[in-house]
Symmetry: C2
Subunit: 136 residues, 2 copies
């Protein structure tokens, strides 16, 4: 009951967006709770946000696959929630997490592994896992 109240009061503050024709989405920004590195961004619907708060591990809604997605369900690279922040407009949430392995499906710690340097995108990180071995 208490969790339900918490959910309802939270959703009163939120304002969902329509992304690629899918209604009811909130933007999630995910930051490493230790280093403050931004690891990834993804969308959540109400169900994935409720599951994230209930279980303490990050769940998203995949706009490509059009389904709920528990981060790490294939790779094992789960994200444990440490803190949750809501932005002024209520359409974005910031999650500070403990990241197991790497957040990026390309094998990097962060999805933002490419920096714009003059006229090219330069890879700034080393891979922490081999995607070919992890996603089999």
């Amino acid at each position: 009951m208490q969790l339900e109240m918490r959910m309802n009061s939270l959703f009163d503050e939120l304002k969902a967006r329509v992304v690629d024709g899918i209604d009811g989405l909130y933007l999630a920004i995910v930051q490493d709770s230790g280093s403050d590195e931004v690891l990834m961004t993804a969308f959540m619907n109400r169900e994935s946000l409720e599951l994230t708060l209930e279980t303490g591990v990050m769940h998203y809604y995949s706009t490509n696959r059009r389904r709920l997605w528990r981060k790490g369900e294939s790779s094992g690279n789960t994200q444990e929630v440490v803190e949750v922040y809501v932005d002024c407009d209520g359409d974005a949430l910031l999650f500070k997490v403990k990241q197991k392995g790497g957040a990026c499906h390309m094998g990097y710690r962060s999805c933002f592994y490419r920096r714009l340097d003059e006229d090219e995108l330069k890879t700034t990180q080393e891979r922490v896992f081999n995607p070919a071995e992890v996603y089999t």
Copy 2:
């Protein structure tokens, strides 16, 4: 000419999303270049991204007002670009910036000034400016 080449090769890597019925948008996440605090998130279209890279100060596309928006045009709280990162999917960019004043229109340093604590959103920052004085 060189800037144009840089733009074209960058846009080849990007994948725009449709948000609230507006096509051609990229997600921008903005982080303080000194503290690594996440300051805000907003959307950009091609024009605002080009202007950002050309001028070195952040420009967005406001999905509410449906127009280009130079950050700080009303408040004076501009954002100077320090580094630009692109995510694996090419639909999100991470900007490390030097923030003048506060990023949030509510007067806070960051738009993520509310933390979810049990059953309430708790304000975690002090205001750095008075919105009533700044937005007149």
